[in-house]
Amino acid sequence: MQFSEAFIQTLTWLIPLPPLLAFALIVLVTNRSKTLSHVTAIGLMGLSWVMSWIVFYYTLSIEHFGEHVIAAAVDWLPFGSAAMGTQPLQMGVLVDPLTSVMLFFVSLTCLLIFIYSVGYSNYGKPRDDHDRPGTPPHGVEPLYSRFFAYLSLFAFGMLLLVVADNLLLMFVGWEIMGLCSYLLIGFWHARNYPDPKQITPRQAAVKAFMTTRVGDMFMLLGIAYLYSQAQTLSFREILRSDEMLTHLATTPSVVAGLMVSHVVGLLLFAGTIGKSAQFPLHVWLPDAMEGPTPVSAMIHAATMVSAGVYAMIRMFPLLSAGWRPGDPLTPPMLAMAVVGAFTALFSATIAVAQSDVKKVLAYSTISQLGFMIAALGIGGYIAAAFHLVTHAFFKALLFLGSGAVIHGVEHGHHHAEQLAHTGGHAAHAPAAPFDPQNMFNMGGLARRMPITYWTFVIGGLALSGFPFVTSGFWSKDEILADAWVHAPVVFVVLAVAALLTAFYTMRQISLTFLGEPRSAAAEHASENDSIFRPMLLALVVLAFFAITAGWVGILEDFLGLRMPFPNWFHGYVGGVLLEHPPALEFNPVPLAASLVVSLGGLLFGWWVYRGYRKGADDPLAGPLGAMYAVLRDKYYFDELYERLFVRPAVWLSETFASEWVDKGVIDGTLHLVGRGALRLGRIFRDYFDAPVVNGSGDLVGESVKRFGRSFRVIQTGRVQQYLLVGMAIVVVLGAVLLLPGLGQ
């Protein structure tokens, strides 16, 4: 098929809009009908997907696409005048190879998550009378339409961010997603837990919003700074101009010793630390698991957290301005290398000791994002972008798989309860509230839920980097290869993190799917209900990409073989940069390392958890000793931040600013002055008027009192009197205005 360039340009403008339209339609029109709402949302998301893939397909045929991009912009904000030499701020869209790749996977994963949500929200089941809006339902979700509206708005934010041609429009999409993540994490806002210490969805939502906002504020400063130095925010004008980059990399900044590009880069990176949940702003992401599972998949795989990494990949020419391979890293790159590598390892250790099936994946996400950030920090531009793509597929798969597991176990729990009732097991004591997300309550699900099992295994193996087949292997291998050449320290840290990744993944698979069922719920779990059909469809499609997405980035001379697609990804995405980055040569050392850590971690995980029996302690608890509790409790960062930031902020607000300063100091002074004036008046009356002026003085005092009394009369609240005052004002005003005119 042939498309004209004008058509593709128009299409690019339109890509983000269908989900926005869906949001508006659901909110304003279809919200009473669940069917119409999801048809609207999925239909319009599907439209965005088709348009995205058409654009992607079109770009494949452009030669030197990195230079001949699809771009269009309009004047958006007038500023100054042409005579002064200022230009209006422009807004526009841009499709270059990086955007194009993002469009490919973002639109698809979003669509699949939408489809999955139909089943996840129990579409087709009758409404359960016990369900309350704002709590997880047993029947069909009471707020079904609203859920699809939020998802649509979220998809709009992400697609807008992807097609944006400048930093400000990107930030718009970035923040819209922030709002949606707040709304979606807190979707079950009425939910409470018996344990008051357990974080509720509404608290998790606020935590996510505020933690990411910390990063966003730095980012906003970065954008303002860049704009004031570059006089533009357009990606092309800044990132593909050698002159501009040199200017930014050589102009001293407001911080001594650093150049403008360094400070801007660090500020923008702070935004990514928040959005992509890097240390030390990682705390929000695990708690964000309180949202419904499709939300977790959307926020933690396909879209929002990827947005942080995407922003860094996009801004890489600025972050690395003045740097050539082999040079010492620029300050922003160094920060990324350190933070990324540390986060990758740090959160992998936490993931090892989690018992909640989704929490493991959450920490795994933080860790994998750390891989990407670290790769970018050491200059592995392509490797970071590649891992972003593969991770989006396999992590969305894992999250959606875990959602299916949770639904299956809940289903089993329900079933088991009914059996217990009808079976006359009245002796059963009312059990403690059953936690369908605790992996220690599962086991043996492989037989009960085979499709979920096999797709989950594919996702898990991709995450572990299982060699040669899975996509995760190729992208992770490329990161390790880059690290091996550029920064051996980072290489070692990431290799250990990769080992832990494989280990906790196998732990998760073993506890969830293998062995014998460890609860009645697991025994009766099932994926045969009709609600599973859309869910399984999404899983199968994602599993396909979790394997194949890696094949486009295999090194040309890998093991000396000739590959069918000789590293297409490198050639395609590398075109974004001014200088095409040199492809790494094949090196057996990092390959050996990635084989060892991946297979070794998987084997070790299987070996430790193969014989786990119901009721036993976690086999890790013994060997790790006290460390196990530290890992399980996430190194106590939540408690630390609570003491360090949350409580002082509350004190500053409630006590310092409101009580002490406003009511105490400022109003206190005013009241003092007021009282002083009163007392002064009284002194004048008592000690001057009365004794000195006497008789005539009485008159003054009396008249003051009388004045006061008559004023009191005014305030009787009688409307006529007020109106009289109003009238008087009008009359005076009128006289003042009209009389001089009459005199003319």
């Binding site: 909110v27 958006w76 904000l77 007038p78 500023f79 100054g80 005048s81 002064m84 030499g85 200022t86 309350r132 809006p133 400000l168 930030f171 970035w174 923040e175 819209i176 709002l179 707040y182 806002h189 009425a190 409470n192 509404r202 606020v206 919003f209 505020m210 910390v214 504020m217 730095f218 906003l220 400063l221 954008i223 303002a224 704009y227 004031s228 407001v254 902020a649 509350v650 607000s653 006590t655 310092f656 600013a657 409101s658 300063v661 400022i666 109003d667 005013l670 609240g717 007020y722 109106l723 005052v725 109003g726 004002i729 009008v730 005003l733 003042v736 205005l737 001089p740 005119g741 005199g743």
Partner: protein
């Protein structure tokens, strides 16, 4: 006839509400519906005229447009002189837009309807007069005229603590007015005219002595008199403590206009009078002004987060948002007359942002007060701890509350973000550290906005409200809808407004 209409367009806008007030005054007291609708129609007339004015306004033309100049007080050479430019026009539009909406919402007021409506319309004339006046005495006159109806609105129709609040509001503002009046008289007597355009030209350069004191000293004193009067009105920290009381106790319609328009009078005073009359003094003390603006941003946000009264929380948020206006104005003041074009350009950005922020805040603050009023009317409580889980009971209200709160928070895509970004971008090269510190305030904005949403809508339903009808009514939605629409339009396509502002600001600073 047509020429008469064209030549007196500004006067028509200015006095249409007064005429409406007189008509309402003549209506029988018990015809409540008639009074309400008459007042609404009377307040729609200036809106229609302002839209027409907008089409007649030529953004590219220099100076004030549609001027009307009549001799008024011959003895002291004070004229009835009106005119608009790109700074005042958006504020005139804001006033004529918000008044009918606040009036429509105030259909819920059941006591002394006639007096309420009359005062409301007189208030509109007072506010419009400040934006339109080009004569110092006229400016001062309208400045005071706006004060009196608001005092009564709070004092009569306010809630429990209204006596204290209205008195505090009155005394605070009067304290500023005294200095303002003296300073205005000094200028007038010195120059022999109260005309602003003449004063802009001659007052900054006036040398010699006034009352035997060197002109520079008098100018500095007069500068502070102006500054304090306007600082109280904005309000700038630490002159702000009248605001939470007045806004909280005022009836909803009054709060909408207080936050939506009255605060802008102060900021407008800075731009219209302080910068042109005292360029040297403003430049000298710009740092102080910026620091106080920063304190307003941070302390306003903190105090807002510290409230448990929903309306007080919203009231404090105004201090936080107006802080950005002050910061933008301070940046513009700091570089007055600077030679470097980049610095002048950045000041233009800051000043554009300040004016746009006035408009954005007018929309979002009025919307927030309206929504707080809706819930207060039904529950008779404003305490956030009394609410909880109201979202399922009032989904439309909930959606609108989240939307308006996000606009207030400065969510990109809505009006507040554009203006805050312009201010941050414009101020950064001039007051770098202060801009960075302002981010603390912006962070806390998120905290208080989420507190408002979370305590009302989220959580398990407070059993007290089970079975209550809390949903917003059609009339209230109609009153909010234009605000919501403009919040989106200004966030997506601010150019229609910024073009007008930018032309004037650029001419003033370039």
């Amino acid at each position: 006839m047509d020429a008469l209409f064209q030549n007196n367009l500004l006067s028509l806008i200015l006095f249409a509400p007064t005429v409406g007030a007189l008509v309402v005054l003549l209506l029988p007291r018990d015809q409540v519906a008639l009074i309400r609708w008459t007042a609404l129609v009377a307040s729609l007339a200036p809106l229609g005229l302002t839209i027409y004015l907008w089409t007649r306004f030529d953004a590219g033309a220099a100076g004030f447009q549609l001027q009307e100049n009549y001799l008024w007080f011959a003895a002291i050479n004070s004229n009835y002189h009106l005119g608009v430019d790109g700074i005042s026009l958006p504020l005139v539009l804001l006033t004529t837009l918000l008044t009918p909406l606040a009036l429509l919402f105030s259909f819920g007021v059941g006591e002394r309807v006639k007096a309420f409506m009359v005062l409301f319309l007189l208030l509109e004339t007072g506010m419009l007069g400040v934006f339109l006046a080009l004569d110092l005495i006229l400016f001062f006159l309208f400045w005071e005229v706006g004060l009196i109806p608001m005092y009564f609105l709070i004092n009569i129709w306010g809630s429990a603590n209204r006596q204290y609040a209205s008195f505090k509001f009155f005394i605070y503002t009067m304290a500023g007015s005294v200095g303002l009046l003296l300073a205005v008289q000094t200028i007038g007597l010195t120059l022999g005219t109260f005309d602003m355009l003449a004063a802009f030209e001659r007052w900054p350069a006036f040398s010699g002595t006034i009352y035997g004191i060197p002109a520079a000293t008098v100018r500095t004193v007069a500068f502070w008199a102006f500054t304090i009067a306007f600082a109280i009105k904005v309000p700038i920290w630490p002159f702000h403590t009248w605001l939470p009381d007045a806004h909280t106790e005022a009836p909803t319609g009054g709060s909408m206009l207080l936050a939506g328009v009255l605060l802008k009078l102060g900021a407008y005073g800075f731009l219209r009078l302080v910068l042109p009359l005292y360029p040297a003094e403003a430049k000298l003390y710009a740092g102080v002004l910026a620091l106080l603006g920063l304190l307003a941003i941070i302390m306003g946000a903190l105090a807002s987060f510290g409230q448990s009264d929903f309306k007080r929380l919203v009231a404090y948020s105004s201090i936080n948002h107006m802080g950005f206006v002050v910061l933008g104005i301070a940046a513009a003041a700091a570089v007055t007359g600077s030679a470097a074009p980049e610095i002048r350009a950045t000041a233009i950005m800051a000043a554009n942002g300040a004016v746009l922020q006035m408009f954005s805040h007018g929309l979002s603050a009025a919307g927030m007060f309206l929504l707080v009023g809706v819930i207060y009317e039904r529950t008779h409580t404003r305490n956030l701890n009394d609410f909880g889980g109201l979202f399922p009971l009032a989904p439309v209200y909930g959606g609108l509350l989240i939307f308006t709160s996000m606009a207030s928070l400065g969510l990109p895509g809505l009006a507040g973000f554009v203006s805050e970004f312009m201010v941050v971008r414009g101020v950064w090269p001039i007051f770098t550290t202060l801009t960075a510190l302002a981010m603390i305030g912006l962070l806390m904005t998120g905290a208080y906005v989420l507190k408002g949403i979370g305590r009302t809508l989220y959580g398990p339903l407070n059993a007290r409200w089970q079975g209550h009808r809390l949903e917003i009514t059609a009339r209230e939605v109609v009153a909010l809808a234009p605000l919501a629409a403009l919040l989106v339009i200004n966030g997506v396509w601010p150019a229609w407004l910024v073009t007008v502002i930018n032309e004037t600001v650029t001419r003033l600073m370039a």
